[in-house]
Symmetry: C2
Subunit: 105 residues, 2 copies
């Protein structure tokens, strides 16, 4: 699990509309994730930070009062406790997303 090429990494269905592959450590979980077109998370929050970067495609994301359509090479940092959500458009988006495991927070 040390090195991945995120452009051609084999992903598996995590839940409907989300394919992913995860590297799970003691203090970090790194996930390469592809979210299908037309999906949405209207908002949630959690007690840990979350961050990542768009690899390909576009996603609209909000973090607290900030909202932005993110394209490739745009990153996000979601501080612990801040409500956030996202929606995809007419094409899938691929992200590299990082959070700590529940056991570490």
């Amino acid at each position: 699990m040390t090195f991945w090429n995120v452009d051609n990494l084999q992903l598996q269905e995590f839940r409907p509309g989300v394919n992913s592959k995860a590297a799970i450590g003691k203090s970090l979980i790194m996930v390469c994730m592809e979210i299908a077109a037309g999906k949405e998370d209207t908002g949630h929050d959690h007690v840990f930070d979350q961050c990542g970067m768009v690899i390909a495609g576009k996603i609209e994301m909000f973090v607290g009062d900030e909202r932005k359509i993110l394209a490739a090479h745009e990153s996000y940092f979601i501080p612990a406790g801040i409500r956030h959500g996202w929606k995809t458009f007419d094409k899938a988006v691929k992200l590299l997303d990082i959070c700590p495991p529940q056991t570490a927070v």
Copy 2:
């Protein structure tokens, strides 16, 4: 600090040969980092995981017994306690690198 475009983010000198910008949270530190040509870390380890992805350029990295030249969109996951290091070549490399803060491990 919520959203960055890592292709044109303004970085500041962190130490000679390394320019960076960091987003520091409770459980994650996300750093966009540019390492100059001809730099090397011959190896070290720490008690937390570290991960990231190459944005542009190339870097040779070793993690335990695995060694690879990473180019854009190649990611790495360094488990806690595993010796790792890197060297750059004739051009700078830009990375997005994530680790937990010392206070979280």
